[in-house]
Amino acid sequence: MVETKGPTGPPHGPAPSLWPLGFAIGLTVALVGLVLGSWSTVAVGAVLLLAFGFVWARDVATGHGAPPVVDEPLAPGPESARHTVPLRSDRDADALPVMEDEEIETYPRSAFLSLSTLGLGGVITGIVAAPVTVFAVGPAFVGQGEEEVDIGPLDDYPEGNFIVATFLARPDEGEVSRRTAYVRNNGVVDGRPSLTILSNRCVHLGCPVQVNGLSLEGQKKTVEVPEGPTVELTPTEAASGFGCPCHGGQYDTEGNRTAGPPVRALDRFRYKIRDGRVILTSSYSVGEVDGQGAEAVIKAYDLAMPSVHVDGPEAILYPFEPPH
């Protein structure tokens, strides 16, 4: 504000002047020309530089001279400054009485201002928050589907006992997708092989369930699969069911809950046989299994999270299941 007072300002305040601005533009043009290697641009810049430099220097040399601003159509500085400065001080001086007089008149305007301030703030928040929130939450709820997983030749699953198969559910994601299934070959029924494939995640809270039986670690073997790392198969013997070490859930050999807190039977995998190999296609949740092996009647439901009731009266507590 001090400079804009022009001749009435303090003795050492320079008069308002646009010459330095032109000088700076000339300097910039010349430098850009140098960087670009364009000599004509450098020349234009140099001309501007010299011309504005000359008039600026002349003004300075003549003791700030008559304010050149008068000649400048683009300089509203002193004009408005001369008006606003006294006006502002006027208002400052009698600010309080003016406000009291105009209180009623200004009230609607301030209501409008406060409303629009809040509204604009809300708009800004919305513009930023909406995409961020959607991005934070959304990807988790895009169903990724399930990939088909090859878990080796059917011949590697001899009839009768459970085989512990560990495999990568999504080979491209690596070890973080390693899963374990308990696979039992029930023999050929109606010309088609029948398998019972149980997930090893406890349906209480997701701990790894263990075979209540003898795990024959010595007979462990690895099977090559076309895509992704190997599948490990460990045979078991005398399995009487499955147990969860965390909170004591017990399951029978069909995955039915027999004791403890699990809310349903163990989840299962759907499968198909392609070129003599076992392919897991998707998994599903099970309310209850009637019967044994190939004859089992399975109450199947969409895959649910552990601890979620899929049937019975408690199922009403879990009406929605996010997509998988």
Binding site: V137, P139, A140, F141, G143, Q144, A169, R170, E173, G174, E175, V176, S177, L205, G206, C207, P208, C246, A304, M305, P306, S307, V308, L317, Y318, P319, F320, E321, P322, P323, H324
Partner: protein, 260 residues
Amino acid sequence: MATTAPRRRRRQSKLQQAVDIPLDWLEERSGLVGATKYFLFRKVPRDSSWWHTLGSATLTAFLVQAGTGLILAFYYKPDPDKAYESIQHITNDLTLGWLVRGMHRWGASVFIILMFFHMARVFLFGAYKYPRELNWIVGVLILVTGMLEGFTGYLLPWDQTSYWATVVGININASAPFLGPFIAQFLRGGAEIGTDTLSRFYALHMLAVPGALFGLIGLHLYLVIRLGVSSPPWSSEGAGRDRAEVKPTGRAGLTRGRRV
């Protein structure tokens, strides 16, 4: 003799000026010096004692967590393929990495224990009563947020314990009626604990939850300074004691019948 004393005085006043000038500069522009002076020299009840140190001890434990956590973030890699290795690297290879990781690991336990002790103290003193109700609520929020910090941090070493404890922890959330499965899915960033889960937990543990903690602790301290701390309820010279009442006898409280 006569000349040394004024010289020393002059030197002292110069020193005083060297301290005062920047402080005055700061005070004139921010008022921070006055605020600090108010904080330091405000009066507290004369019978405040060791009991009242649990809060600041908790704050110290939190600051240790903030400092060590920041430095651990220099070296930790929140990626399922690298996290475990980087934890081993920090513990075994880096200079004093074991100490910083150890302080962060055990500092978490100390922080939680101290929060419980502090809370128990406030409960036993009845210090949550008028006008300090809001500060109790903020304190409970700090406790919950602190335990959330413990939960999100437990996954980061990516060893068996941390992985499976997190599986169970997330499924505990999933068991909540109606919205539970959605909360679980949000925490995991998908249907299973996958590649995104670890970085999600890391971001929460490093930024979101500590940020909330800093804010809540700031509010907590503001309220402590504004409202003051309660005298021990058994104190015979407690601030705000009832004057009209007769001096409490031995049975009238856990009294210390020293003097009235």
